[in-house]
Each structure stands twice: as structure tokens, then as C-alpha cells.
């Protein structure tokens, strides 16, 4: 603990660590207003709102830059302070338009709040306000210069927070304005952090602007449905439309961080091509039918094939909730009597868990990346594929001078902060990591992020190498989608039942199912395996649950419109094994959750799969899968509970060729990305991986 100092704030004695900024010390007892100061970012002292009176200082001091000292006597709301703040506001308003009634920020504007508190409604300035037209920098970012109070928050969050540095401040005096990286437009991550952090309405988003007023929205904190990092995103909804996503309350493992997908790519949800009615193939064409008819048709077919001893194939989703995947494998194994169940795999968690057998605390969380002394990224373009984890590594480097190492097949953004970067082709990564051994051991502690190209024996070698370093090492198996990890944990695999317990007679893998010419039924929930692949069995009865008419759904005999991740309750598990709660924010007419569909199917088939409501299924998961017995209060309050679903050998042979990353970038997101107008409209899309442009899917 640092040395403590004692000081007096508003007549009360407090102790604080020496060197702490006065504004932080004051937080416990008095709110000090500030526009430019932002916790976690460099100091600016540009806005002059945080002025306080400190005894023996001849002038008011900025609390945001003043470290506390022994015996300091501080007044935060004295007459002089209040007057100074009012004057500062009057000055800020001298060129700020009074267009609050049409401004997106009206109602949650920090400037508005301050003026309300300190009152600078009347101005002594008679000069004409200088107006400049609003500018659009990208499909996402709009800038209204006159509203800008030049607090530099956007510049700093982009540079320090995101590591992009796409914003600057140009000109001076009244002409000062924020300027984007490329003259009149932005080329950046399009994450919108600058918009969220703007204290006024200078930066507004293409998604939200002029859609609603802040007080007309409902807010639902749920988990982003795109990549595997599990960011909390708070959806602002109006009626059944999502109009905004952010995480300003810093709840969740990502605090305020979100990428373009978490913040703006919720728009797939309202895409006009969303399926809203079940469809059955009649005379070769998919025709809309009622839910009753569709369920009846599927149940009849399932019953018929089962009674004839036919073969089933079931494909689970990497975006469905844990409850849905759990019930799906239960349905497949108990009702359909098959182990032919699989999902697209994007990380070799099985080998990792097996290699870590007997170790405790060897799986890292998102937070661990921020606190580790060293971070090793093997075989992943982290900032493209796992934006939150990349952000954690960057923040760790910035705040704690962490040593970052990259072993990748091409240039990645983390190279810029890396203590060492090695290029290694896929499958050759381990030798490259060996070459860094001394440097890795010197870190004193390491988190290893393992990309999809490291699998099978390479994972074992990596763990053995980690063991030999003599420092604490934790691992993360990087996986593509929001619930890729959960799908594995829930046993949506032909050889492992929930909790990585081997089954007696392993079923067919996804590839084998597609290649099986005698397959009678293929049931696909929320995946698109027929994009770029053929179904060998021409007569297979194909049931597809999806949000859109994908390549797979187009081939289907029955299409059941399913709910999106933002339209359901449940839990999902991120790539680090942290389980969080999904909360339903909106509803889409005509759709049902995968869980509800399975419940209806079971009833129509007179099969008993137990209760099919979310809470009951989760209770079953908690009581049967090791590591999922997580404390409910953590989940209920929006927290993340770390799971370790096995701690012992997982005696199955991993087929490494089944594991591959889909190669989504910051601007693609599988099927969801195809239906997101925002993701497709930004000029950076479809993005780059390892410095190479990816082709548009």
C-alpha cells in the first residue's frame, strides 16, 4: 500500500494514497464535475470544470491534475468555485448551439446537466455564434463542430483506449475542431467509442441519431451475440426495436469497451429478410404455414424415421444459449437416440482441458489478460477476431507495461506493442514459441491465447512449454462465436456428452453427416453448414431453425424461424469459459426461441425431455455439469462466472481437421454480418486478417 496522506475535504478529514488525483479522492464525498477528465485516460486539464479551492494556493486548482498531499484543505463547492464553474459554462456555451430539443444527447448530456446545476442560462456574450455544418465521417460517425466543447475525450479514447488514433484536433481558437484521420472521412475500427464518450452531442452515431429520446428507451443489459469474447452490451430499445447498444455503466467484463459489432451490428435483428413464419416445402417450393402445422410435420417425420430405425444428424449452433444446446443434445441422444450431433468447431478446447488435467486455476479470464505480466498470442489476429481480448492486452501494456508477444502467420496490430513478434506459418507456431522461451520465462507470469491454428499435439506441446517456464501460466482457447465454448461444454459433439464425458458409441461429425448419402434427417439449428458444401444425402429431410433464409434454409424441407440472441433469456459462455446471462430485450413477431421450438417438438412427439423453460434447463445444467454450479447471484446481477467444466483427462482422440476458425474480422460476423447493414456499409469492411484483405462472404 502506498503511503497514506490525510487531507481535509469540505471540512471532513479523509485519508488517501499519496499521489492520488484529488478528483478521485473527492469522489467519495463530493461530485466534482469534469468534461475532459476520464478515469483511465491521460490527463488533459482542458475544460476547467473541476476547479476547486485549495488553501494556500493563490488560484483555483484543477482537481483532475492535482495529486493529494498531506494537510491539504480543499473546498469543492465554495462560492469562488461555483462562480468559476458557472463562468466556465458560460464560456463553453458562448459558441455551443442551444439546440438541445433536437440534439440526440438532450436528456443525457453532461453539459446540459452542468448548466442545470450551476446555471449559466444567460450569457454576457453578444457575439454571433460561429456555425459550421455537420459532417459525416463514416456511415457510423457524424460530427457537429459547434456542439463540440473540445474536451479531447474522443481523441484520447481512440488513441489510448482503442489504440487506433484516428482523431485529432486541428485549427485553433474558435475554429478548433476535431478532425478525422483522412481529411474528410474516417478510416478506423468504426467502434463508436468516441461517440459514446462524447459528453455533449458533437459526435453522434448513424444508428441512433434522430431515432428516439433517451428517456423513451428501455434498457436491457445482455451479451453481444457476435464474437466469442462475451462483451456486455446494454440495448436501448423502443417498442420492439433496438435503437442503441452501449455499455456506459461499465458493467460486464468489458467495462465500456465494445467494437462495431457490439455497438452497431444489432441491426441484423430488424433486417427486412428476417424470417417470421415457418415454411414447409410443398411442390418443391417453401410455403408459409402455421407453427402448428410446421411442428406437426417435423414431429411426424422424426417419429416415422425413428420407428423405422433411420439415421438422424443434428447440428447445434455456436450462437444459441447453453440451455438450448444442452436441450438439443438431450433431445438428440434421448429422444432421437443418436450421437450424430456436432457443431462448427473453432478451437481445440478438448485437448487444452485434457493437457491441463489436474491443474487448478489454469484457465484465464478476460480480466487476467489485463493483469498478467506477460501476454502471448499464438496463431490469432487478436484485434480482428477478439477485439475485447486485444483491448485488454493493449490496456495492460499501457497501464502496467506488460510484455506482449505475438506468434502469427502475418502482421497483426499487437506487433506495435509487442516485446517480440515472430512470424510462423500455421502448424509451425510451437517452434517459434520455443525461440521466445527465455523472454517468456523472464516475464514472471503469462497468459497464453491459443488461436484455432494451434490444435492437437501442438496444444500439448504449448502447455508443456508453459510448464517448463517456471512461472504461472494461464491459457485461453480462442473460439469464434458468442457461444462456441458453451456448445462444447454442453456436449454438442458426437463423442462427448455435457461436461466432456466420453460417450459409449461416438456418432458422426458434422462433415460425416453432410457426406453420409444415407442420412434420413438432418436437423440444423442456427448454423449454415451448406454454405459452400453439399448435402450428400439427396433424400434427407432437412429441418432448419434460423433467422434468415440461408443457403442451408433454402435447401430445407421445413424452416422454423428462430429468435436472435437479443430475443431470448439464457446463459452463454465466452471463449475464456466465463458464463453470463442473456436477457431478452425485444421480441420478433412470428419467431420462437430454439428452446421453445424443442419443447413444442417434444410435446408433439409425446417425448419426455423434462421442462423446457430456461430456468429449469439451467438448473439441470448447474446440477449435472461440473464447473457450471456457478453462484446464481453473480449471474443474476449481470456478472460473469468462470467455469472449469472438467479437471481430469478427456480421453477422446481429437480430430484436428475439424477445427478451424471461420476467419471473421472486425467487420464480418458470419450470417449475422451478412444481414447487418452497418457492418456492410463501412468502407473498412470486410476487413483484413494478418494484414491481408479477406474476401467478401
Amino acid at each position: 500500500m502506498a503511503d497514506q496522506v490525510t487531507l481535509t475535504i469540505n471540512g471532513k478529514q479523509v485519508t488517501a494514497p499519496a499521489g492520488q488525483l484529488l478528483i478521485e479522492t473527492c469522489k467519495a464525498m463530493a461530485e466534482i464535475p469534469a468534461f475532459c477528465y476520464y478515469e483511465g485516460m491521460s490527463l488533459q486539464a482542458a475544460c476547467r470544470m473541476c476547479l476547486v479551492e485549495v488553501e494556500k494556493f493563490p488560484k483555483l486548482q484543477t482537481a483532475c491534475t492535482l495529486p493529494v498531499a498531506e494537510g491539504m484543505v480543499v473546498q469543492t463547492e465554495s462560492e469562488a468555485v461555483v462562480k468559476a464553474r458557472k463562468t466556465t459554462l458560460e464560456f463553453l456555451l458562448s459558441n455551443h448551439p442551444l439546440d438541445c430539443p433536437v440534439c440526440d444527447k438532450g436528456g443525457e448530456c453532461e453539459l446540459q446537466d452542468m448548466v442545470f446545476k450551476y446555471g449559466a442560462g444567460e450569457s454576457r456574450f453578444t457575439e454571433v455564434k460561429q456555425h459550421v455544418p455537420e459532417k459525416q465521417w463514416s456511415p457510423v460517425v457524424f460530427y457537429d463542430g459547434p456542439r463540440c466543447i473540445l474536451c479531447y475525450r474522443c481523441i484520447r479514447v481512440c488513441d489510448e483506449g482503442m489504440g487506433v488514433g484516428a482523431l485529432g484536433l486541428t485549427n485553433r481558437g474558435i475554429n478548433s475542431e476535431i478532425t478525422p484521420s483522412h481529411g474528410d472521412h474516417l478510416e478506423c475500427d468504426e467502434c463508436g467509442a468516441c461517440i459514446d464518450i462524447c459528453p455533449v452531442g458533437a459526435l453522434t452515431s448513424g444508428a441512433y441519431r434522430y431515432k428516439t429520446r433517451p428517456w423513451e428507451m428501455e434498457h436491457t443489459g445482455t451479451i453481444c451475440t457476435h464474437c466469442g469474447d462475451g462483451c456486455k452490451t446494454t440495448l436501448g430499445t423502443r417498442g420492439d426495436e433496438i435503437v442503441r447498444a452501449n455499455n456506459r455503466d461499465r458493467s460486464g467484463i468489458n467495462e465500456e469497451f465494445l467494437c462495431i459489432k457490439g455497438r452497431y451490428a444489432f441491426d441484423f435483428n430488424h433486417h427486412p429478410e428476417r424470417l417470421q413464419s415457418p415454411m414447409i416445402r410443398l411442390n418443391g417450393e417453401l410455403q408459409p404455414v402455421s407453427w402448428t402445422e410446421a411442428i406437426k410435420a417435423v414431429a411426424a417425420k422424426f417419429t416415422e424415421v425413428k420407428s423405422k430405425g433411420g439415421s438422424f444428424g443434428v447440428i447445434g449452433s455456436t450462437r444459441s444459449a447453453n440451455e438450448e444446446n444442452y436441450l438439443l443434445q438431450k433431445f438428440a441422444r434421448q429422444v432421437l437416440g443418436t450421437n450424430n450431433i456436432d457443431h462448427p468447431r473453432s478451437g481445440d478446447i478438448v485437448t487444452l482441458l485434457d493437457a491441463l488435467s489436474g491443474k487448478t486455476d489454469a484457465l484465464a479470464t478476460v480480466d487476467d489478460i489485463y493483469h498478467a505480466k506477460g501476454v502471448l498470442v499464438v496463431g490469432s489476429d487478436l484485434s480482428q477476431q477478439h477485439p475485447l481480448l486485444a483491448n485488454q492486452a493493449r490496456a495492460n501494456f499501457r497501464h502496467h507495461k506488460a510484455k506482449v508477444f505475438t506468434v502469427t502467420r502475418g502482421p497483426v496490430r499487437e506487433d506495435d506493442i509487442a516485446a517480440a513478434s515472430v512470424r510462423a506459418t500455421e502448424g509451425q507456431e510451437i517452434a517459434a514459441v520455443e525461440s521466445l522461451k527465455d523472454k517468456l520465462a523472464a516475464t514472471g507470469g503469462l497468459v497464453v491465447l491459443i488461436g484455432a491454428s494451434v490444435k492437437g499435439d501442438d496444444v500439448r506441446k504449448l502447455v508443456a512449454l508453459g510448464d517448463s517456464l517456471g512461472v504461472p501460466v494461464k491459457y485461453i482457447c480462442l473460439m469464434d462465436a458468442s457461444n462456441s465454448r458453451g456448445a462444447m461444454d454442453m456436449g454438442v459433439t458426437p463423442d462427448l456428452s455435457p461436461g466432456y464425458k466420453p460417450v459409449d458409441k461416438p456418432g458422426k461429425t458434422m462433415m460425416q453427416m453432410l457426406a453420409d448419402a444415407s442420412l434420413d434427417v438432418l436437423w440444423v439449428t442456427g448454423e449454415n453448414p451448406l454454405a459452400g458444401a453439399e448435402l450428400a444425402s439427396k433424400n434427407a429431410f432437412l429441418v432448419v431453425q434460423d433467422m434468415f433464409l440461408t443457403e442451408t434454409a433454402k435447401r430445407a424441407d421445413v424452416v422454423l424461424p428462430s429468435a436472435s440472441g437479443y430475443e431470448k433469456n439464457g446463459t452463454i459462455t465466452n471463449t475464456c469459459g466465463q458464463t453470463q446471462r442473456l436477457k431478452k430485450a425485444v421480441e420478433m413477431m412470428g419467431t420462437k426461441t430454439d428452446l421453445a421450438i424443442m419443447g413444442l417438438l417434444a410435446r408433439a412427439m409425446a417425448a419426455n425431455i423434462g421442462a423446457s423453460n430456461v430456468d429449469a434447463v439451467f438448473e439441470e445444467i448447474r446440477s449435472t455439469i461440473r464447473g457450471y454450479n456457478v453462484p446464481l447471484p453473480v449471474l443474476m446481477t449481470g456478472g460473469a462466472a468462470h467455469t472449469m467444466p472438467v479437471n481430469g483427462r478427456v480421453p477422446v482422440a481429437v480430430q484436428a481437421d475439424l477445427i478451424s476458425s471461420k476467419g471473421d474480422t472486425l467487420f464480418t460476423s458470419g450470417t449475422l454480418g451478412r444481414y447487418s447493414k452497418t457492418l456492410n456499409s463501412v468502407m473498412e469492411a470486410p476487413g483484413k486478417l494478418y494484414g491481408q484483405p479477406v474476401s467478401k462472404s
Binding site: G165, A166, L169
Partner: protein
């Protein structure tokens, strides 16, 4: 982008003026001398300076926007800068500027066809003791009257 050997030498020397790791402090003089040779702070010059100092182009942009002595477009061979700040204004700076406008047929930040003269109304140039003052490129002229200005302009060849 390549520069003359003299400028390259100057740039190399500049980088030694600052402590290790703070080479970006050379940004302003590099832009200034670069502008003298190139004629303006062109996008190419900005990119080159940014590259040499390992900073982002937008950081160069910020400095360029702030300092009025750095120009994006080429100024005339003789860049006439007339001060109209308080001290000069009180003793005829504004009239001097008006005279220069009429004489040259230019206003603020305009350049003559052919590029001989350009004119700029500037803020204080630090010559208040000898107001009204003007600056022609890097040369100062003190106690300037409209008549004296004519002589100065006639001498610009």
C-alpha cells in the same frame, strides 16, 4: 520523398537536438524548413515527416492546423505579412493592410497569378516597439508607412 542534400543534413542535425525518444519535437522545424524548400506543406511532405518521426499523419495535421506560418498551398515568392494586432493597429496597421490589399490586388492569404506576391493579415509578430511592422518572408520591416511599403514592394525582385 527526397530533399536537397542541405535539407537532409539539416533534418539529420535536428533529430540530434532532442533527447532520445522525443524526436517528434523536431516536427515544427522540419515542417518549416520543408515548406521553405517544397513551397508548401504538401500532403507528401506531411506523410514524409510523419514517417521520419514515427508519428501519425493526423498528428502532423494537428500542428499544421494550429500554426499559421505553415501553409497547405504555396504562397508567393514574397509573402507579405502585415500585422494588425493592437500595437500596430493603433499606429496605422489596419490602414497599412488596406493599402497593401489595394496595391497588390490581394486579400488575406491570396497569391498573385504568377506567384510573385502573396498577402497575409497576421497577428502580433513581436515587433510592437517598432509598430507598425510587416514581415516579408523572414525579414522584418519597422515603422512602415504606405509610402515605405511601396518602396519595399518595389524592392522585392
Amino acid at each position: 520523398m527526397t530533399f536537397s542534400p542541405e535539407l537532409e543534413k539539416r533534418f539529420a542535425d535536428l533529430l540530434t537536438h532532442y533527447p532520445e525518444g522525443r524526436q517528434k519535437a523536431a516536427l515544427i522545424p522540419m515542417l518549416m524548413y520543408g515548406q521553405d524548400e517544397v513551397g508548401s506543406v504538401s500532403p507528401e511532405l506531411m506523410a514524409e515527416v510523419a514517417k521520419r518521426l514515427s508519428i501519425k499523419v493526423i498528428e502532423v495535421e494537428e500542428v499544421l492546423g494550429y500554426y499559421s506560418m505553415l501553409h497547405r498551398k504555396p504562397m508567393g515568392k514574397f509573402h507579405i505579412q502585415v500585422c494588425t494586432n493592437v500595437a500596430c493597429m493603433l499606429v496605422g496597421g489596419t490602414e497599412l493592410y488596406d493599402h497593401a490589399c489595394k496595391k497588390l490586388g490581394l486579400t488575406h492569404l491570396e497569391t498573385q497569378k504568377g506567384g510573385n506576391f502573396s498577402l497575409e493579415e497576421v497577428e502580433c509578430i513581436g515587433a510592437c516597439s517598432w509598430a507598425p511592422a510587416i514581415q516579408v518572408n523572414y525579414d522584418f520591416h519597422h515603422h512602415v508607412t504606405p509610402e515605405k511599403l511601396d518602396t519595399i514592394l518595389a524592392g522585392c525582385k
